[in-house]
């Protein structure tokens, strides 16, 4: 187990270094400086600006300066919002995006695991087919379609829930969570069903039943532990997908989270903000992958090799 942790961290570090180096080089090789689009700035002011944002140094010096800043969580100043640092902007957006991702994954787990267990307990019946075909639809319909359609039906035509915002009006969190969580609920359902079907055929389940344990106890205590391994291994990549999905969902519903900041920074060419949030996103994603790998290994000794 200890070896596994070391090995995973040994991969995570070069991944993060590659990300930082690549994004840094890409942003710095962008045609034109960050102040080019501003209306004519005098040479003197430009020199001052370059000095202030450290742009007059050679690239290698800037790179190591930036790297040592990142290590202590300092992503430098934002180009577009003077006086605010990128770290500050990230810390404003992060709690909202995190809340959105957390609710979505909880929704996905509750609905998905329930549907998957039911399907596995009664395979090839209506209880299996109906949730599983719905899951297939859920996987195929992307958030860019699901979001607007949910708004159109439940927000505009039926008028049941607000169509935008986050925490401004009661119920405005429902549609974003549904939009982001549905595809993951569908994946969870399929993975749970597959995992449970495999486990329920094994000898130790027969033993548990033979001991006279109730069916609920057999399923919840004995089978779920093994049956959920694929779901837990999926949670890491799912978090990565959720963060990327937050770009779309936060844009559609006007939620002031990290995903929307990122897309806005991409539009405004706020290079330090793009650089900082790219690195931050990558760090989150790599960490979630690491955690889910380790949890999966803790649950399933076979993965520890």
């Amino acid at each position: 187990m200890f070896n596994l942790i070391l090995r995973r961290i040994a991969i995570a570090i070069p991944v993060l270094l590659t990300v930082i180096t690549l994004t840094f080089l890409m942003v710095h090789s962008a045609p034109g400086g960050p102040f080019d689009e501003e209306k004519a700035v005098s040479a003197e002011v430009l020199a001052k600006l370059n000095e202030r944002y450290n742009l007059d140094q050679p690239l290698s010096v800037q790179y190591f300066d930036y790297l040592s800043g990142v290590l202590v969580g300092d992503f430098g100043p934002s180009f577009r919002y003077p006086g605010r640092s990128v770290t500050e902007l990230i810390s404003i957006g992060l709690p909202i995006t995190f809340e959105l991702a957390l609710y979505s994954i909880l929704f996905a787990l509750c609905v998905g695991v329930l549907a998957g267990v039911l399907g596995a307990l009664r395979p090839n019946t209506a209880l299996d087919y109906i949730p599983m075909s719905t899951a297939m639809i859920g996987i195929c319909i992307p958030s860019i379609i699901l979001g607007p359609i949910l708004i159109l039906i439940f927000g505009i035509w039926l008028g049941w829930v607000p169509v935008s915002g986050w925490g401004y009006m009661p119920g405005d969190k429902i549609l974003p969570i549904l939009t982001l969580g549905t595809a993951y609920a569908a994946y969870c359902a399929r993975l749970t069903r597959g995992g449970m079907l495999e486990i329920l055929n094994q000898d130790f389940i027969r033993t548990a039943r033979a001991k006279g344990l109730s069916e609920t106890r057999v399923v919840v205590v004995h089978a779920l532990r093994g049956g959920l391994t694929p779901v837990i291994a999926f949670l890491g990549p799912a978090m990565a997908g959720l963060l990327a999905g937050s770009f779309v969902v936060e844009t559609i519903f006007g939620i002031p989270g990290l995903g929307r900041f990122y897309v806005e920074a991409a539009f405004n060419r706020d290079y330090t903000m793009i650089l900082g949030s790219s690195i931050f996103f990558s760090f989150l994603i790599v960490s979630f992958n690491l955690i889910s790998d380790l949890v999966a290994a803790a649950l399933n000794p076979k993965l520890r090799d």
Partner: protein
């Protein structure tokens, strides 16, 4: 290659109703996209500002958008962009992945270890962020878009091909070919790639919808294709903006795009069952 194997696989594929439906729909969309310049009812940049947004009618079957552009025409031209990005990027991913995986699997030893470590590291990088960065920094260039997407989607392909090659290269007919003095390149092209192709085709079919989705995603955020050119992602974005008054602008492109994604996934699942009858989908 064994002909009856492919014939069997083909028969199994079309006996699966969902895959059959998917194949027919995709063929229809591809043919339509190919002949769009010949049969499109209007020019894709033609605007009828006096008409403005109008619902489905005899003149404009699927209605017009806020600038009076014919929706059917824009969808047909959009399908060309979406399909082109999907298929070309898959080809790029396929070529890199197959070559990388074959070389790694066939070489073994240190070369294999180093090549697969590189894949491991690249796997950890969240590429959606890189594709967005590329679009921001180097402009919204269509060629660049699918090159970038293709160049990041080859990793799983390389892993699949490598494991196929590794299990194949231990078999007798490869040893026999080696003993007869067939060159390494010859063995790779004549024996390994043709025999490893099944899972590769399945994965490639499932990669196409993923890439189309990524393109739609970027266009939806406004970071992909730009008007007057169109893609399904861009049309869905336009539709979402004005759906309150003009629902058809959202519904029709969404329908076309969802059906395409469904069909490609059904074909992929069907192919998996057809090419490898042991692994029926669980």
């Amino acid at each position: 290659m064994n002909n009856s194997l492919w014939k069997d696989a083909f028969n199994r594929l079309i006996s699966n109703k969902l895959s059959l439906f998917g194949s027919i729909y995709i063929l229809f969309i591809i043919v339509l996209a190919l002949i769009t310049p010949l049969i499109a009812p209007y020019d894709y940049a033609y605007q009828d500002l006096d008409l403005g947004p109008s619902g489905p009618s005899a003149l404009h079957w699927l209605g017009t958008d806020t600038l009076g552009r014919d929706l059917l025409t824009r969808m047909m031209y959009g399908s060309r962009v979406s399909l082109m990005v999907g298929f070309l990027a898959t080809m790029v991913a396929l070529s890199i992945g197959v070559i990388w995986g074959t070389v790694a699997g066939f070489s073994g030893g240190k070369v294999d270890t180093i090549m697969m470590r590189i894949v491991d590291v690249l796997y950890g990088i969240p590429f959606i962020i890189f594709v967005i960065l590329l679009m921001v920094i180097f402009g919204r260039n269509l060629i660049l878009l699918f090159m970038a997407i293709g160049a990041v989607e080859w990793l799983t392909m390389a892993r699949i091909v490598r494991s196929q090659v590794m299990s194949l290269s231990k078999q007798e007919f490869i040893l026999a070919a080696e003993a007869m003095g067939v060159s390494r390149v010859g063995i790779i092209y004549k024996h390994l790639i043709p025999n490893a192709i099944g899972p590769v085709i399945v994965y490639a079919t499932l990669t196409v919808p993923q890439i189309m989705l990524l393109e739609a995603f970027l266009s939806f955020l406004g970071l992909g294709v730009q008007a007057p050119l169109s893609s399904w992602g861009l049309l869905i974005r336009d539709g979402a903006v004005s759906m309150e008054e003009y629902w058809w602008l959202l519904i029709f492109p969404s329908l076309a795009f969802s059906l395409t994604l469904f069909s490609l996934n059904f074909i992929g699942d069907g192919l998996r069952d057809a090419l490898d009858p042991r692994t029926s989908d669980s």
